[in-house]
């Protein structure tokens, strides 16, 4: 069975480490915040200028001056700090963020990522995604493995305009956890009940399968 959005978030959360500063993109990545292990301290960075993002506010706590990068009302965690946008991107571009999780339309075997624009459709913009992929070393891309029509999004070459070049090393899809190195995809784990054959069929770029591929555990 393909992973649900929540399960993708849950699997990403297993990559967190105590003391990590983490930037979570909009969509599935945001859900990762719900699965931070209890015995771990993780500080969430929101690129609009908040380090130490807390949970959503109660009705009483709502503050129009306190939002996250998705423009949602949020709260501040204990030990939070606030800064301006240039400072925020100094953290990101300077490589100070330990883990970045963001979504994509396509990735390819060379670590290229396309995530912000589909030509001919409305172009909304890259927001902070180009800065994040250029500045971070440790990035996990979360995405669906293929379109509803079975068209692979893990390609030998991205077809859409790029968000970043040669910057992605880890991809977690609803079917598989994949590492990108030496110009190839490498299958690390598969979603419970999903066969290696199924993953191969839905991966257009070259996929290396070495030995038995374990199922993800939650």
């Amino acid at each position: 069975m393909a992973l649900s959005r929540e399960q993708i978030a849950q699997r990403v959360a297993q990559e967190l480490q105590d003391g990590y500063y983490v930037n979570l993109g909009i969509g599935i990545p945001t859900l990762v915040a719900n699965y931070i292990p209890d015995n771990m301290e993780v500080m969430l960075q929101s690129e609009n200028g908040l380090l130490g993002m807390g949970q959503f506010p109660t009705e009483e706590e709502i503050d129009a001056d306190l939002i996250n990068a998705g423009k949602q009302t949020v709260t501040m965690a204990k030990g939070a700090s606030i800064f301006d946008s240039a400072e925020s991107f100094a953290m990101i571009r300077g490589g100070h963020v330990d883990l970045t999780v963001l979504g994509a339309f396509e990735v390819d075997v060379n670590g290229n990522i396309a995530s912000y624009m589909i030509p001919g459709k409305l172009i909304k913009g890259m927001g902070g995604a180009m800065d994040l992929v250029a500045g971070a070393d440790n990035i996990i891309v979360t995405m669906t493995h293929a379109s509803k029509h079975g068209v692979s999004k893990l390609l030998s070459n991205c077809t859409l305009p790029l968000t970043g070049k040669s910057c992605i090393k880890k991809v977690l899809t609803d079917l598989a956890f994949i590492e990108i190195k030496e110009g190839k995809f490498h299958l690390l784990e598969r979603a419970p009940g999903v066969s290696v054959e199924e993953i191969i069929k839905l991966t257009e770029g070259e996929l290396v399968v070495t030995g038995d591929i374990p199922e993800m555990t939650f």
């Binding site: 129009a64 946008s85 991107f89 500045g135």
Partner: protein, 239 residues
């Protein structure tokens, strides 16, 4: 006005001198920390052909979006747009020029503009459409593109508190692009929720020094919320 007193008493006075085809840098992220009343004043004045530099472009009836209706914006430089129907229509019809700029690059363009740095190299955008036509150079084995600074004829800024000398304090994430915008305007206009006397703000706690501020006005704000996400009062969960 006398000496360092930056306070003006009307929005008309605050935006005096803004004329057609000027470049205006605006602080704010989404609808958070936007100079609401200064935007309204630009709408009232009907200034046209503006180039707006701001992270976003508001929604249909609030924020910078209100300037779209009377076609006051010629070009927008932003990182994320299209939260409004009129924006989409004008962009698709080719009536509105949009220069998409990565968010960190945009912040740095303002910061550099305000600091007298004409351009800077960044890794952001290398190998993407953003790099097209830009100088590319290698430093320590990595490629970078040259991005030019931005200076505005006007910068419009929202702060929380100020003293009469224009020393500013921002509140929570309403700070966002406002401090950089404040430095990058030939004329910087700031609206705030409270004005105090010089000496009342702790100098160690001032985010933006009054040297950047030309005009200061006391406003009242709607502070519209774009995505109202809440959790139940008792639960630990996310929604």
């Amino acid at each position: 006005m006398a000496g360092f007193d930056k306070v003006v008493s009307s929005y008309e006075e605050a935006m005096a001198g803004l004329t057609d085809d000027m470049t205006v840098i605006a602080g704010g992220f989404g609808l958070c920390g936007i100079p609401e009343n200064l935007i309204s004043e630009i709408k009232r004045k009907g200034t046209k052909g503006l180039t707006l530099v701001s992270n976003n472009c508001g929604v249909d009836d609030f924020g910078l979006g209100v300037l779209l209706i009377d076609r006051q914006i010629k070009k927008i430089v932003a990182s994320y747009v299209g939260e409004n129907a009129e924006f989409e229509r004008q962009m698709m019809a080719g009536e509105l020029e949009v220069e998409l700029t990565p968010q960190g690059t945009l912040a740095e363009k303002m910061r550099a503009g305000g600091a007298g740095i004409p351009a800077f190299y960044t890794a952001t955008g290398v190998g993407t459409p953003v790099a097209e036509g830009k100088d590319e150079r290698t430093f320590n084995g990595r490629n970078y593109i040259l991005e030019e600074a931005i200076v505005g004829d006007f910068a419009i800024v929202k702060a929380w508190k100020a003293d009469r000398f224009g020393n500013l304090v921002f509140r929570k994430t309403a700070r966002n692009f406002n401090p950089m915008a404040a430095t990058a305007g030939k004329i910087t206009v700031v609206e705030v929720e409270e004005i105090v006397e010089p000496g009342e703000l702790d100098p160690d706690q001032i985010h933006t020094a009054g040297i950047y501020v030309d005009r200061l006005i006391l406003g009242s704000f709607e502070k519209r919320i774009e995505q109202r996400t809440i959790r139940p009062s008792s639960a630990k969960g996310d929604k």
